[in-house]
Symmetry: C2
Subunit: 373 residues, 2 copies
Amino acid sequence: MKNKYLALLFMTLFMGQVCIAQTNQTPIVEDFKPSTVNQPGQEYPQVNSQGYARFRVAAPQAQNVVVSLGLGGAKGGTPLTKTDDGSWMGTTAGPMDEGFHYYHLTIDGGVFNDPGALNFYGSVRWESGIEIPAHDKDFYALKDVPHGNVQQVLFPSKSTDTSRRAFIYTPPGYGKDTKKRYPVLYLQHGWGEDETAWSNQGHANLIMDNMIADGKIKPFIIVMTYGMTNEVKFGKIRSFDIKPFQTVLIEELIPYVDVNFRTLANQSNRAMAGLSMGGMETQTITLARPDVFSYYALLSGGTYKPEEIKGKANPKLIFISCGSRENPDGVKNAVADLNAAGIKAVSYVSENTAHEFLTWRRSLRELAPLLFK
Amino acid sequence: MKNKYLALLFMTLFMGQVCIAQTNQTPIVEDFKPSTVNQPGQEYPQVNSQGYARFRVAAPQAQNVVVSLGLGGAKGGTPLTKTDDGSWMGTTAGPMDEGFHYYHLTIDGGVFNDPGALNFYGSVRWESGIEIPAHDKDFYALKDVPHGNVQQVLFPSKSTDTSRRAFIYTPPGYGKDTKKRYPVLYLQHGWGEDETAWSNQGHANLIMDNMIADGKIKPFIIVMTYGMTNEVKFGKIRSFDIKPFQTVLIEELIPYVDVNFRTLANQSNRAMAGLSMGGMETQTITLARPDVFSYYALLSGGTYKPEEIKGKANPKLIFISCGSRENPDGVKNAVADLNAAGIKAVSYVSENTAHEFLTWRRSLRELAPLLFK
């Protein structure tokens, strides 16, 4: 079990660092616009309609500036070139995959963030982010629809002797009708990320708001908390042990949420899902505590085998997804095996995406309508 | 009126950039510890018991690295020196004031954040932050007490044709007792900051949690939203006009909050406060709409004159504060004038602090028990 974790965790690490871009010899279209996740008023980084990313960084006396995104150099990344005005500029060698990517700058041998971009917690640090507009970006856009809230909750955790943080999405109208109760999805981030990821990088709240406004789903609550305990936040992945997190989630967070939010506090109205390492956590915890959740979802985070479920757990639905650049056959085959064994399971493959957030945004969009039927 | 704004706004800018440190010839005590607002697992920047800050930045091929904090160089700031292992190190020339400071690095002529520190929105960008532990830091510490939540709200704004963001603090127990209603404080940030400042830099939620746990205040809601409209977020301060924000606040946000939160929706249970530019906004809006708020508070953000109040507004209380390194006499004299005119007013001066967040954390601590009596 431990080796399986490590293998998958390192796959996550590896895929997080190698950005998949396609080399492409068609001319670059000069319609670059600022990335939608730039800091206020910042012109760079920019993205064009083909998905190329262009960077501009002011550092007049620097010797060397490289962006970790793209395929430009021998080691990957996009080397920037000094221009006459003292800034460094460069464009990725090919278009990037649609969606969100983490990146950073290496300036004279040191790692820094791009001052033009907003920061997102990934790779165990606040990294720069860039958004390549996806053809289907509408489903996670901020629109003029009723919006739910995302609230920071500090809940007491005796097992870790700390106040721990969760972010909780409550659907539109939650504050108005103070009698209505809702099902709950517990939704986990990946390795190197934290409890901010599903809102900041994933736009989980906007995906929900839009689907609720479209009448595609019934409203539910989403709870997002940090999926590691103690020092693992600091990168010590070898010492990762899921049991302390299982205790936090099952013994501390769920009871806290059920007291402080208007939940339907029972197994049939509770789901767990996670991406990458969060998928592995979901797999382990749902099987260890089959009495707690009724819906299980693994997003680029492993599979279930029929023998792990049969006679041991009775989920209403299992959902397994990944990007087409990951292991789609593995996902489809796992779901076929589950279905053959009489277990209700659904697969989803995100087209032309890898182990990145567009895969998971789309996975949440596909998962949400299947929950709490 | 416009010139007065500009003068105060530029004062804000100026004081935000010059960090007040005292030169000090006593030996530096080698008890440096990582700043409490470092990124997870990061050893630097560090702070010692005297308030000196020490920086360490890896950039082996850089020519020049300067920290904008401290008084080391001709232009201010702390120049770092290259060490044998390729990292750059340096210590401020003297102890820093207690509390929170923004800073950034200048590396080979470019402005970047310190990869060791968390980022905070100030100076119209996400800046690095460092915390010099204050002797009274206990009042804003994260403690094992019941915690309120801070929720991100996206509210519709017809006047600006956008979904605008507010963060709303609800006190401990808000989710449990779904009948209780609360007074509301509308609390504004300063220029170059945004709606994240009072929670991230100010710890407004922890200050409230601790005072509620100690029985020092009755619980109330705090609403924090972005105090500018349109492109001013991008630094175009010369075009600043308060009216669009007044419309957002009075016509859009307050009604939204009163519908979606369990407020006591009347003038006597509504307060407005702000720091620096937010104080100027508070002054203007409370006087323009004396029917809306009953408590007015200016934190390092101007004063009221008796003739502005008498016969025009009837506040239950005016609170005016600043740091001792700002203009304490101006604050005290203004409050004396108000009291002499029969207007209930209270002043507060934060000892040994300037135009920075420890002044405002302390001001909130002093203000909160005076509200909603």
